[in-house]
């Protein structure tokens, strides 16, 4: 219990029981009481404490009988202690009263030079009547029933105060004990460390087996070398680094769960001995290493010496932990950035839709907004590389800053925002491109996606699953555009932002138009044989009409367009990947053989369509002019023919009349004719 230095002393004190203690107990309460005097004989040297007590009782009771004017025991009675002079000379500075069954501190008379006072193992409830012992250095009240520290204010020389195993609830009233060296308060009910900050000479503080839940307010204990906090409920430790001399700290059997709660210990450079056993953190697998890593100055941990080997292992483990933590931090940071970017893009999209909606009264859509200010990061060699979002919210003016996000996550390529489509222009490593099986489009207009589908087909040949969300799919016709891909196994069209999903027939149309893909799933539900048949039934005639009833030249022109587009793109790409041309040629052949009847169902975006109409307009004017010319000619000829028709009878009659008139006289006619002939020659 007591620190080693003093144990011997108290041991000696204990053994002083046999050195002839004579106890004279005088009861006195208020002045007008009879004094009952007891005197114990010197001839009983080897009495035991208990016997003494018994004797005392006997004597007391016997004496009681003699003096009837004994004060009733209702009044508190303080026994007064007297020692015989021989005693005083023998052990002049120490007095041991342990196991005396004392319930109160007796008044100690005439012992002003007492230096050591031992009240161990009694039943004392209050510290009293020792204020006169102003030379007291050592006061031991171990194992009593003291509930409050009090009555010590005059003991300015006190150096050792042992109050273990009492019922003290609060540390208080130690203000004047500035020379205190050892303070033992173990085994009490103390809940807070307080009122000890002035004890600058205190070297040992024992607060084991109390009810402490945390450690703080330790400033000012500049000499403290040992702090015992075993067997408490401590969850966190603070201020320990303010103790410049602390060498030993015992925190065994507390409730420390994480190293953060004791992080201040790392700064405590004087600590060489620490114990954490019996705490939850001691159960952790990395406990020893962490402690050793953070407290390089330790020499003993849990009363075992720390070896160099352990230290080395600890540092290695700690480094690995650090790296892992940094990595996960980076990951979470990236994730956050990604979420932010996506939210940004969503906002842009909404704004765009609102603007388009308000301007959509006219047939033309406004041209796509200007300046894309995307800040692209350097492409990492690893799989994930999100792009930094550009400048935030667009002002209501005309310029709109695009933000977009491209993310490859295992087998999924996710594209957010219209600008993300440009990523298909970048060169992708074959490995990355080969593993991508799902492509997700979000916040991108479908019409824009249509433009890049050929590129998608080339760059990501294994993409099997397409997902569309907030892509403004409004017409069944738009699905026609998906036919140009190599293969689709699954199609997911999120209802959000895609009004086409509200149509009853959209799935059947998709199955019908993309029947050559033999899709497995649409929006998560399996495609059954019945679905396919239904699709065929609903739209089969459309296909039939579209193929067989179109005049030949139309067929060729429509198919020709599609084929031309494909080949043009391939020719562009020929320089880069010559091997693919033949592959795609065979693909297009396959396309034709499998479903020519559907191939005429194409989709061209509204802008493209209008462009084409514009082009045709000139031709139309030319045609009109030409036809009008033809008509004029025909009309002219017709008029002339009609005029001829009208005038001909008259002309015929005149002709006949002229001839008849001429031939009326034969001779004259013959002469005239001969004249004509002669003239002609």
């Amino acid at each position: 219990m007591l620190p080693g230095k003093y144990r011997a002393v108290s041991g000696r004190a204990a053994s002083n029981v046999n050195c002839g203690l004579h106890l004279v107990i005088q009861t006195s309460s208020l002045p007008d009481r009879n004094k009952v005097e007891f005197r114990l004989s010197k001839e009983t040297p080897s009495f035991s404490g208990r016997l003494l007590q018994h004797d005392l009782e006997r004597n007391y009771s016997s004496r009681q009988g003699e003096h009837s004017s004994l004060v009733s025991s209702s009044m508190p009675a303080f026994p007064i202690l007297h020692r015989s002079t021989e005693e005083k000379i023998l052990c002049s500075d120490r007095l041991t009263l342990e196991r005396q069954k004392l319930t109160v501190c007796p008044i100690i008379d005439g012992e002003e030079h007492l230096r050591l006072l031992n009240f161990q193992h009694n039943f004392i409830t209050r510290i009293q009547n020792i204020s006169n012992l102003q030379r007291l250095i050592f006061l031991d009240l171990y194992d009593n029933q003291i509930e409050e520290i009090s009555g010590l204010s005059t003991l300015r020389s006190l150096r050792v105060l042992l109050l273990g195993k009492n019922r003290i609830k609060k540390i208080s009233n130690l203000e004047n004990l500035k020379s205190l060296d050892v303070l033992d308060l173990h085994g009490n009910q103390i809940t807070r460390i307080e009122n000890v900050n002035h004890l600058s000479d205190l070297r040992v503080l024992n607060l084991a087996r109390n009810l402490l839940s945390h450690v703080d307010s330790l400033s000012g204990l500049d000499s403290l070398t040992e702090l015992n906090l075993r067997h408490n409920h401590i969850t966190f430790v603070r201020d320990v680094d303010a103790l410049p001399s602390l060498q030993r700290l015992f925190l065994s059997f507390n409730n420390i769960c994480s190293f953060d709660s004791v992080c201040c210990l790392a700064q405590c450079s004087s600590l060489s001995d620490i114990s954490f056993d019996g705490n939850p953190i001691a159960q952790e697998p990395w406990y020893k290493h962490t402690v050793l890593q953070n407290m390089a100055q330790l020499r003993q941990l849990d009363t075992k010496r720390v070896t160099e080997e352990e230290r080395r292992v600890a540092s290695v483990v700690a480094k690995k932990e650090e790296e892992k933590r940094r990595e996960s931090q980076k990951q979470s940071l990236l994730k956050e950035k990604k979420q932010l970017a996506i939210r940004n893009i969503a906002r842009q999209w909404e704004q765009l839709q609102q603007r388009r909606g308000s301007e959509a009264t006219g047939p033309e859509r406004p041209g796509s907004p200007s300046a894309a200010q995307d800040v692209s990061q350097a492409q990492g060699s690893g799989p994930a590389f999100p792009e930094e979002p550009g400048s935030p919210d667009a002002p209501p003016g005309p310029a709109l800053a695009d933000t977009h996000l491209v993310e490859v996550d295992g087998d999924t390529l996710s594209l957010y925002g219209a600008g993300a489509l440009e990523c298909l222009d970048r060169s992708w490593s074959t490995q990355t491109a080969g593993t991508v099986t799902t492509v997700c489009f979000t916040f991108i207009e479908f019409d824009d996606i249509v433009q890049v589908l050929p590129k998608l087909r080339m760059k990501f040949p294994n993409s099997l699953h397409l997902k569309f969300k907030e892509t403004k799919l409004v017409m069944l016709q738009q699905f026609n555009a998906l036919a140009q891909l190599r293969r689709i196994d699954q199609l997911t069209v999120d209802p959000q932002g895609n009004p086409v999903v509200s149509f009853t027939l959209w799935k059947y149309y998709v199955l019908f138009r993309l029947s050559h893909f033999s899709m497995q799933k649409i929006n998560g539900t399996e495609v059954t044989q019945n679905d396919m048949i239904m699709a065929e039934r609903l739209f089969g005639i459309l296909a039939h009409v579209a193929s067989s009833e179109l005049p030949q030249y139309r067929l060729i022109s429509i198919l020709g367009d599609a084929r031309k587009k494909q080949f043009r793109y391939l020719l562009d790409a020929k320089g880069k990947r010559p091997g693919l041309v033949s592959e795609d040629a065979s693909d297009s052949r396959r396309l034709l053989t499998e479903n020519t009847n559907r191939a005429t169902l194409n989709y061209s975006t509204r802008d493209f369509f209008n462009e084409r109409l514009e082009e045709i307009r000139e031709k139309k004017q030319l045609c009109r002019a030409y036809t009008e010319g033809l008509v004029q000619e025909a009309a002219g000829i017709h008029t002339k023919a009609e005029a001829l028709q009208r005038l001909w009878p008259q002309m015929f009659i005149e002709l006949v009349r002229d001839a008849v008139v001429d031939i009326r006289s034969k001779d004259a006619f013959m002469k005239l004719s001969l004249q004509h002939i002669a003239q002609q020659k």
Binding site: S518, Q529, L538, G540, I541, S586, L601
Partner: protein, 326 residues
């Protein structure tokens, strides 16, 4: 053929009446557009095919709206094409919204305007709850009236509004542009007391209109029939009656009678053939998928091998992937 009325018309008017010029211009335009392809097999054949398709009514497939709207014949052909292609949808019994019908229309004509479909829907739904579902036959007949007689209907609407607001019957009605025609609800006071207009008065005005619009208005006799049955009628009531009138439908000649709307035996046969073929195709694919092809994925030049590739992948997951060639 050589009827006196025909010869009585001056040239341009005759041509205009028969819309000959429209077709000529369009033919020449198509020729110009596709000259590389057409030059391969001859211009004469092109013209033959073109005018054959005009006769059959297939010339309007996938054409732009301005062309489809240009002549009554085009309009009728379009209606017929729409009916033939999507009769199966109606037969299936699905009720669709206006937007979905519009989608179907757009499959045949990419830039078909939404207003027309909306107007047609209004006729069916009596201008009420535009998101309601409509049956195929209802929509089709209403659409027919709206599309085929759209200019006429605009004028009628103007007349109706005038009558409602009680204007002088002798003022000349100039139909406003079709897109700008807003349906104004009649003043509440009047409408609540007397719904619609007097049928007789209405008919008088319409008669004079019909005389002016000789070519694209319903036969006056039928209009009279419709208007003689009731005392008063609203605009949409009138249109609904028009759309349901058998005589007008027959006069148009594009669609069969309502009772026969779902019948088209020739097409049904064709459809069955298609369905059977697709079913066979699918099962044969699955069948083929079960036996691993001898060449696996290597041979890509033969179509059958290609089909096997795709069919194998249809039923079982790809054992290995397409690697883009370097």
């Amino acid at each position: 053929m050589l009827s006196p009325e025909r010869l009585a018309l001056p040239d341009y008017e005759y041509l205009a009446q028969r819309h000959v010029l429209t077709y000529m211009e369009d033919a020449v335009c198509q020729l110009l557009e596709n000259k590389e392809d057409i030059s391969q097999y001859g211009i004469a054949r092109f013209f033959t095919e073109y005018f054959n398709s005009v006769c059959q009514g297939t010339h309007i497939l996938f054409r732009e709206f301005s062309f489809i709207q240009a002549t009554p014949h085009n309009r009728a052909s379009f209606l017929r094409a729409f009916w033939r292609c999507f009769r199966t949808v109606g037969k299936n019994g699905d009720l669709l919204t206006m937007k979905e019908y519009h989608c179907l229309l757009q499959l045949l004509c990419p830039d078909f305007p939404l207003e027309l479909t909306q107007k047609a829907a209004r006729i069916v739904l009596m201008d009420d709850a535009m998101d309601c579902l409509m049956s195929f036959s209802d929509f089709l007949f209403a659409f027919q009236i709206q599309f085929y007689y759209s200019e006429f209907l605009d004028s009628v609407a103007a007349i109706y509004q005038d009558l409602l607001s009680g204007k002088n019957p002798n003022t000349v009605i100039v139909p406003t542009s079709s897109s700008g025609q807003h349906r104004q609800r009649p003043a509440l006071g009047e409408a609540s007391m007397l719904e619609g207009v007097e049928a007789a008065l209405f008919y008088q005005r319409l008669e004079s209109l019909c005389d002016r619009h000789k070519y694209s208005c319903p036969p006056p006799a039928f209009v009279k029939e419709v208007l003689s049955n009731v005392q008063r009628l609203t605009f949409y009531g009138f249109l609904v009656a028009l759309s349901k009138h058998h005589g007008i439908n027959q006069a148009l000649g594009a669609l069969p009678d309502k009772g026969d709307l779902m019948h088209d035996p020739a097409m049904d046969e064709e459809l069955e053939r298609l369905v059977v073929r697709s079913r066979l195709h699918r099962t044969s694919r699955q069948h083929r998928a079960e036996e691993p092809g001898a060449f696996g994925f290597q041979r890509r030049d033969k179509p059958e091998a290609l089909e096997r590739v795709s069919s194998a992948s249809a039923a079982t997951p790809y054992p290995y992937r397409w690697e883009p060639r370097e």
